[in-house]
Subunit: 328 residues, 2 copies
Amino acid sequence: MKTRIGILGYGNLGRGIEIAVEAAGDMELAAVFTRRDPAGVKILTEGVPVVNVGEIEQWKDKIDVLVLCGGSATDLPVQTPKYAEMFNVIDSFDTHARIPEHFADTDAAAKKGGKVAMISVGWDPGLFSLNRVYANAILPDGKDYTFWGKGVSQGHSDAVRRIDGVKNAKQYTIPIDKALDAVRSGENPELSTRDKHLRECFVVLEEGADAAKVEKEIKEMPNYFADYDTVVHFISEEELLRDHAGMAHGGFVFRTGCTGVNKEHKHIIEYSLKLDSNPEFTTSVLIAYARAVKRMADEGQTGARTVLDVPPAYLCQQSGEELRKHFL
Amino acid sequence: MKTRIGILGYGNLGRGIEIAVEAAGDMELAAVFTRRDPAGVKILTEGVPVVNVGEIEQWKDKIDVLVLCGGSATDLPVQTPKYAEMFNVIDSFDTHARIPEHFADTDAAAKKGGKVAMISVGWDPGLFSLNRVYANAILPDGKDYTFWGKGVSQGHSDAVRRIDGVKNAKQYTIPIDKALDAVRSGENPELSTRDKHLRECFVVLEEGADAAKVEKEIKEMPNYFADYDTVVHFISEEELLRDHAGMAHGGFVFRTGCTGVNKEHKHIIEYSLKLDSNPEFTTSVLIAYARAVKRMADEGQTGARTVLDVPPAYLCQQSGEELRKHFL
């Protein structure tokens, strides 16, 4: 029997989940839940109901794993604990600093409901976290480096858009090659914020806005830009929509460490992602972990979990025997 | 209480384990077991007994995890099942084709003894296997590439040494940059054996041996060299010992895959290792997994396991709470 997936929230992530479920032979989409009027939500899969979230409780026995596709700022802190009482759930909560709190809230709710709730699944947090943990366990004496990009940062784009005179904007975070090379060379560099990433902004001005003033305001914005080298380009709205609509992203996780009686041997572990579509890759990770959620729930586990708690074999359709034969 | 580690076999791997145990705050070396006369085996750690393997049974209750440091060809197929009846064990069995059989033998023995036995731990099999499994689960529609090197291949070095007229030899496996770049570009190349790796041999001849004949014999050797471009250098024994005694190694695991309604988005996952000391890195992996063996045994698990069965958190000294806070 196929694992029945529910989707809550039908934006970029929700659509990505729908595509990933379709690509997985062992899953089927049971329903899409929305806060909007279901009549106005057109999904890709034929024959699957779109349901107002107000009716979700009626689906308690018809869904194996509910994938929560809301945002981390306001949706998930409420939604994940709420639905973890009714369903096995999975989310991509990515506000690193608030993970302990979100874990605690979700854990209590999932235990109360007798469900499994996996939080913070994606690539960072997610695959990057896995790599940090593996590499730290293996090289306890070492140094971690994480780089992001090239890709659009939603938070930084929003910050630019809030500036007076800015009509629209996209901000790319770009890892600096010289820093990457220094890490790869094993020289264990001390890298400042400015050394690691460049920020590049494409900005559409309101009519009559003062470009020089906007550029200055961007470059001096504390936290967001002041600590970085920032390049600002002014372009037309047409150019922005044509050339900067992509959702590519990626990044790098390194650990450099040493072993030996006199710490004389250096080792470098590098993990990197180059993604054409950030939301589609994120949802591919979510769907693999949804498979694990089902398996852990079937075992009788309850409570909150993260990627750090999941045996890799649980992500796969194949049996342990097949995995050992073909992948080990 | 610290996890008590036993080492069976005191060569490069055994010494690496000793160093890694010393570096881990939560472990201590309990004893080293050897087939040799213990009086002739000098270890690094003071106050730790070296014991003949014939007396190992007396240590049943004094060792939490026994690390088996024998070779995959003849030692481990016998040792791992044998000692899995008495101890929680871990090995680095790396003959890929024989893993299913080794797993079955070890599983039966470990279940009989009520122990946990983890096999094939290291970087390939091991960390590379993990990366293949994660990447395949996340990008089911894709292509895998594994490259090894630059590093010495023991098997290929041995093959050269068996040639008439060869006194000593080292063989390096070298990944070809053009192939790596083609994979990284996302063009999903079809790569032949010759496209992926170059073989470089450093050969010391017996006095009076015919260099041209040896070179021809190397380059035409079926399985080992015939399918590759091979470079042969003749050097003095002094040069071989001076310049080619290192144990550096490494490699790359890629998966390139696509997502999207029309498979229009490409993604590239790359994992790579650059290691100054192959045995010391391998033993660092073994020690992290020895920690997991102890934890799984404490939970009452029994039977054979591989890296695919282990939640990443089990490799770490830190609590789940600390890991979520600092690494997720």
